[in-house]
């Protein structure tokens, strides 16, 4: 057990290290200097003033230090929770911007991921080996998984937003309100949340349903199912067992899919200009704000890692096989 988690932690630690390093490295070795574009944007017409500003900002972002020093500084400040200052929203600290966006992303992602997983699995399990239902669930599932995230989002926005006018198609809450603890504001939030959520939920739903259906069919054909049938156990029990076992790979599947879902949330947020991390990433890219980019990226890596870790733990708890495996290879 210890060893298992030790190894997992090692992998996660390494992943984190590599991801953060890549993410630190990439912008720094790319062409173009963020400071000069920043200076260019200030429109300082006087060359001398521009030069002073350049020196000033280079110092401010620590870009005048040797590259290895920058790298160490980066880690050092990172552990102090300091992600640097955003260029795009200068002079707001990156952490502040991210913290402002995270609640939106989480509010979108967590329900979408969990609900689509639960509902999808339920549908898939229910449809497996039931001909009529199967024939309905499968095609719908496939269409949903094959749809590009943003197209589904665009369709929803167009159909339910622009044409039907039922839902707003932009923003996290109305521009005429300001955040407060009132029922109206909550409804307003919900109203804006519905379409992005629906598009994420629907897009992920099909995959889970199909995956579950296939797994369940496999389980229903397995030896233990046959044995139970031979002993006359009712379908209900057999299905229940099959479901339980089929859900396990789906849990791993969830871990595998997290990255993809994060990406999906990104384009969805962009379509609905929902104020989450996805929009931030796009902005950071468009504005060459690599401190912000690093921050958001780091946050996502952390989120995915933590989620994966939780999934790993859950998996160990629910699947006795992994536990036995951890004790050593000998059964």
């Amino acid at each position: 057990m210890r060893r298992y988690f030790g190894r997992k932690l090692l992998v996660y630690g390494l992943t984190f290290f590599v991801a953060v390093t890549i993410n630190w490295m990439v912008p720094r070795f790319m062409p173009g200097d963020p400071v000069s574009s920043m200076v260019a944007r200030t429109g300082a017409s006087n060359p001398a003033a521009a030069e002073t500003m350049r020196v000033y900002y280079t110092g401010l972002f620590g870009l005048d230090q040797p590259i290895w020093q920058q790298y160490f500084n980066f880690w050092a400040t990172l552990f102090q929770g300091d992600f640097g200052i955003s260029i795009w929203a200068f002079p707001t600290p990156v952490s502040e911007i991210i913290l402002g966006a995270v609640p939106y992303t989480l509010a979108l992602m967590i329900p979408a991921i969990l609900l689509s997983w639960v509902v999808g699995n339920w549908f898939g399990a229910y449809a497996a080996r039931r001909k009529a239902l199967d024939n309905a669930v499968l095609p719908i599932g496939y269409i949903l998984t094959a749809m590009p995230y943003m197209w589904l989002a665009v369709l929803l926005a167009w159909g339910l937003g622009v044409v039907a006018g039922l839902f707003p198609v932009a923003g996290g809450y109305s521009f005429s309100t300001r955040p407060n603890w009132s029922w109206d504001f909550f409804l307003d939030l919900l109203h804006h949340w519905t379409l992005p959520f629906a598009s994420l939920f629907l897009a992920a739903l099909g995959g889970w349903a199909i995956g579950m259906r296939n797994m369940i069919i496999y389980e229903l054909e397995s030896d233990y199912s046959n044995y139970l049938s031979a002993l006359g156990a009712p379908q209900r029990l057999i299905r229940r067992y099959a479901f339980r076992n089929a859900v396990l790979p789906q849990i791993t599947g969830l871990a595998l899919q997290l990255g993809v879902l994060v990406a999906g949330a990104l384009v969805t947020e962009i379509v609905f200009s929902y104020p989450g991390l996805g929009s931030l990433i796009l902005k950071a890219i468009q504005n060459q704000d690599f401190f912000l980019l690093q921050g958001t990226f780091l946050f996502i890596v952390l989120g995915v890692l933590i989620a994966n870790f939780i999934i790993d733990i859950v998996y160990v708890v629910v699947d006795p096989r992994t536990r036995a495996g951890m004790a050593g290879a000998q059964a």
Binding site: G32, T42, A49, T92, F175, S176
Partner: protein
């Protein structure tokens, strides 16, 4: 209840039960929703950061001594009651009495001097005025006297209306870093609005009912609240506009022509092409240090090969106008010397381009339909615009195609913005498009942008093409020192500049970018328009445009009762 407040509260006279000082829901009929200026979260309210302060920081909160009316080309007294040159090197400003800061303190000449002297800090963007200003002093509470070492009249006028005055009693003692990088939350200004709240995606301004202009200028901006929405994208802006969630969109909305023509309740300044006022000129910048762009003949041939019409019609759907060969904006029409233009100007003419090339010795030697350098080496030019700037990306595709017709090989390329800036400032490019100079009080700002010398190692904001012509630069400096009321004097110098410009053509004007502005009449009416006696001010909230008429537009709005 109904959670879309767009439709809520529209019945007039709703006493709006919420506390007006801290309303959770702004009454629609008293609120103006705008967008198109702010591309990032409103991160600072620092009037010194004139490139990225939250929309309205200058104009709504901080004000300048004068405004400038592009229609009459005159300075309009604002915080200053008047200003005049008492001799060739001394300017005296008389301030308006009775103006107070929003914290109740009186506005005095000390504030003006303080603001000018802030520029002595090296990193303050107007630091360079101290190269030609000798001193600024407060003669009394209402009088400021500025003494010049070199009287740059044109540039001084630009400062007079462009510089936001900050309160000395608050800014005093701020370090250089704070002045440059401070957020300046809860800004205290003399303007008609105060800060109310902001979030990632918006900033909200609230009208000041004790604003001095109400009596002194007989002006009152009508919206009680102004919400500036952060741009996420053009399409979102268009969506909001169509859903009546926005009143004034200063975004570039592709297809705006259709909005105007269709029955959407959306209008623009002109009801027909080009729909928008012109705001700046898009130039094709040539790197004159490289072959063959160092050859005026080649540059002129290139200019003749560009099918600007197709850009205007195809890419922009007539939302823009082709530029005059001089590049001067329509507002400066009087300064364009038509005789020079007719003699040395250029138009799209493939045959002429070919002839110019042939005459200058650029011939197609290998029969690939593309000309080679005089020494026989291949010509292979790149033209760059930032990746993601869709309209420009389309535009350079057109340029590339039409240049090819004339036999010039031009390949469009779309580097990242950062990379482009890097190349641009280092002079590591062939051609690019740039429009960073806006309309101003004087064509001098344009010529300064085009021909400024000396060339630095990095050219960050001006003369990207590194065109070195000392004579021409002398003329530009000479123009700066012509008094702004001496129109004839200005014309004379400008005509000379134009002659050289068109003969040498180191930078090719292409089209006038519009003062993008789409308005909805649902909540507010009487928007500026070319039609009838509607106001003729600039319908915009763009930074640095509030003083060019943007603020006046707000004062002319009327609530739409229906």
């Amino acid at each position: 209840g109904e959670p879309t407040p767009n439709t809520q509260n529209t019945q007039a006279g709703n006493p709006s039960a919420v506390n007006p000082a801290n309303p959770n829901s702004l009454p629609r009929h008293e609120t103006l929703y705008t967008s198109g200026t702010q591309w990032g979260p409103p991160a600072n309210f620092n009037a010194i950061r004139e490139w990225d302060y939250a929309t309205g920081t200058e104009g709504l909160v901080y004000e300048s001594l004068f405004h400038f009316d592009p229609n009459t080309s005159k300075l309009v007294p604002w915080l200053a009651q008047s200003g005049s040159w008492i001799d060739d090197k001394t300017y005296e400003i008389k301030l308006r009495p009775g103006v107070t800061w929003s914290d109740g303190k009186p506005f005095t000449a000390k504030d003006v001097v303080f603001t000018l002297e802030l520029g002595k800090m090296e990193t303050v963007p107007y630091h360079n005025i101290w190269e030609w200003i000798e001193k600024a002093e407060a003669v009394d509470d209402q009088t400021v006297k500025v003494t010049f070492s070199t009287a740059n009249y044109q540039e001084w006028d630009f400062q007079l209306y462009g510089r936001a005055i900050v309160p000395q009693h608050i800014w005093q003692g701020r370090s250089e870093q704070e002045v440059l990088d401070g957020k300046n939350e809860n800004p205290v200004g003399t303007g008609a609005y105060t800060y109310m709240s902001h979030d990632q995606d918006r900033v909200v301004w609230q009208r000041r009912d004790d604003w001095w202009g109400k009596t002194a200028l007989k002006m009152e901006p009508k919206p009680k609240y102004i919400v500036d929405i952060v741009n996420s994208s053009n399409e979102v802006a268009m969506g909001l506009l169509l859903q009546k969630g926005m009143d004034l969109s200063n975004n570039f909305l592709p297809g705006a022509a259709n909005l105007v023509k269709g029955n959407f309740g959306i209008s623009t300044y002109y009801p027909e092409p080009p729909y928008m006022l012109s705001a700046n000129t898009a130039f094709l910048v040539l790197n004159t240090t490289k072959k063959p762009m160092d050859d005026p003949a080649f540059r002129k041939a290139l200019a003749s090969s560009i099918n600007t019409k197709q850009i205007v019609e195809g890419v922009y759907g007539n939302l823009v106008k082709p530029a005059s060969p001089t590049g001067l904006l329509p507002q400066w029409e009087q300064f364009i010397d038509q005789s020079v233009v007719s003699q040395s100007g250029f138009t799209y003419d493939v045959a002429k381009a070919k002839k110019l090339l042939a005459d200058a010795g650029y011939r197609d030697r290998d029969g690939d339909g593309l000309v080679e350098n005089k020494d026989g080496s291949k010509i292979n030019l790149n033209i760059i615009v930032p990746s993601g700037w869709t309209d420009w990306m389309e535009a350079i595709r057109v340029i590339s195609a039409s240049a090819k017709e004339a036999g010039i090989s031009v390949t469009p390329d779309f580097p990242d913005f950062n990379a482009l800036v890097d190349k641009r400032s280092k002079g590591d490019f062939d051609m690019l498009i740039n429009n960073e100079r806006q309309l101003s009080n004087s064509p001098w700002t344009y010529y300064d942008y085009m021909f400024q010398l000396p060339i630095q190692k990095t050219q960050n904001t001006v003369n990207f093409g590194r065109y070195e012509n000392k004579e021409l630069w002398k003329l530009v400096q000479q123009l700066d020192q012509v008094k702004t009321d001496d129109v004839e004097g200005m014309k004379k110098v400008i005509s000379e500049i134009q002659k050289t410009h068109l003969e040498e053509l180191p930078i090719i004007p292409l089209w006038y970018n519009g003062l993008w502005s789409q308005v909805s009449n649902t909540t507010w009416k009487n928007w500026p328009s070319s039609v009838g006696n509607a106001p003729k001010t600039a319908p915009t909230m763009w930074r640095n445009w509030m003083e060019l008429g943007g603020f006046e537009t707000l004062t002319q709005l009327q609530p739409n009762a229906s």
